[in-house]
Subunit: 263 residues, 2 copies
């Protein structure tokens, strides 16, 4: 199968013009087919502030009321997505930007109200692999904004990590997929404060051991559980590390690579 | 050749939620392959007002300074484009939304400074027909926001009428193209105040006569000149009329159809 990279970048890259521009220049040099999923960064919060719309966050997740949905649609699908696409085009990378609504790429439903009402937040139901494959095979790299839809006219704000994971697992039936999570740290660290303590490779056997010995920073456990879930569903490997070192991450020279158990 | 419709809608539809929603429901029922080019409407001006950014207009064209470019990118490529796409998806129409930057669909250059400096306004150099054909043949209808790029990282605000015309002429080598201009009037009128005076068909012969006799409202002359220019470049017909009557426009039962001279 052909290789496909699904790469997620977050606010630490998006909010820094210099880092973003050098990341995109490096991204453009990667020969494999690739999908870039971007988060939102701080711009939506800033814009909401300018417009006098109060933002509510719970556990780092934005509560998306109707006005906030307008703002994130404008900022994520408009400003950020199109500037990334224009910058990749400048670097000779034939990028096309989409949301989950475009070509029904990612269908979701409005998150059911639990203890917290997240408002217009989307939980993903299905990824349209034939649409995405078509775009890739037509020679485009795909840039995905973290907005989905419910196929009933409603746009939904959706977590970019989850989008990256769902796309990676869905596409793994068609491609040999590596999922790269850009992150503010050098990878999974033994000591959260020291980048040099990065664990280069984790498989299910040493993961169990590392957890047992409380070696891994607690905040990383959900990320790692998600990484193993992706691998169980067919993703070949998950790489966690600094997006600024994209080439080294892909080559396994930087970051933490999460793989299946060797058998 | 297969038929292709290129349909442009402007502020009179975009700014009216009810009109937009019924237009999109009708658009979704049109069987032919189609491209929808939308203008911006008043939302960008409103948003600029909320953010305290003054808007300058000259001859109905917006002067696009850096802050205004941010706003139109957010509003046109984000809010309007993605809501149109989500609404079409609801209506069973497999829409995909793009700007000129996506897949390098429309390459432009920043308008040269003449007597007026329009700022980040784009004049179109090339339409990527193979990208657009690929999207159409993959089963998508394409929704185009009036933002282009210069292939050097710069997004550019671009007139939607011009985009529709350039796409229609470029695609006329590959499809049998009809270009539909949605408009606030019923078509080209003998009396600008009375919709019932619409001229059903204009060809070069009667156009010359109508102009000579000063029958046509002066404001329509540039639109008609553009329509004939499109026809000279291969577009099969240009239809001008109310977007609210899309089906009737396409069938020639409403609006003004501009055609080549019968020979």
């Amino acid at each position: 199968m052909k290789k496909l990279l699904v790469i997620k970048i977050g606010g630490n890259i998006i909010d820094d013009d210099n880092k973003l521009s050098s990341f995109l220049a490096e991204f453009a040099t990667v020969a494999e087919k690739k999908i870039l999923v971007h988060g939102g960064g701080k711009l939506a919060t800033k814009l909401a502030g300018k417009m006098g719309i109060e933002q509510q966050m719970v556990d780092g997740r934005r509560i998306t009321d109707a006005e906030t949905l307008k703002i994130v649609t404008m900022v994520y699908a408009g400003y950020i997505n199109k500037n990334i696409v224009a910058s990749l085009q400048k670097n000779g990378c034939n990028a096309i930007g989409i949301t989950g609504a475009d070509g029904n790429a990612i269908q979701a439903h409005k998150r059911l109200k639990g203890q917290i009402d997240y408002g217009f937040a989307g939980d993903i139901d299905a990824v349209n692999t034939s649409l995405i494959k078509g775009l890739l095979e037509q020679g485009n790299d795909v840039v995905v904004a973290p907005i989905t839809h419910d196929k009933n006219g409603q746009l939904l704000n959706t977590n970019a990590d989850t989008i990256a994971q769902e796309i990676a697992t869905a596409m793994s039936g068609l491609y040999d997929v590596s999922l790269v999570y850009g992150f503010e740290k050098a990878g999974v660290l033994m000591d959260a404060e020291r980048d040099e303590t990065v664990i280069p490779q984790i498989d299910p056997a040493n993961y169990a051991e590392l957890k047992k010995e409380n070696v891994i920073f607690a905040g990383m456990i959900p990320k790692l559980d998600n990484a193993f879930a992706a691998i169980d569903k067919g993703v070949k490997k998950v790489i966690i590390g600094k997006a600024e070192q994209l080439g080294a991450l892909i080559e396994g020279k930087s970051g933490t690579t999460i793989v299946r158990r060797e058998t």
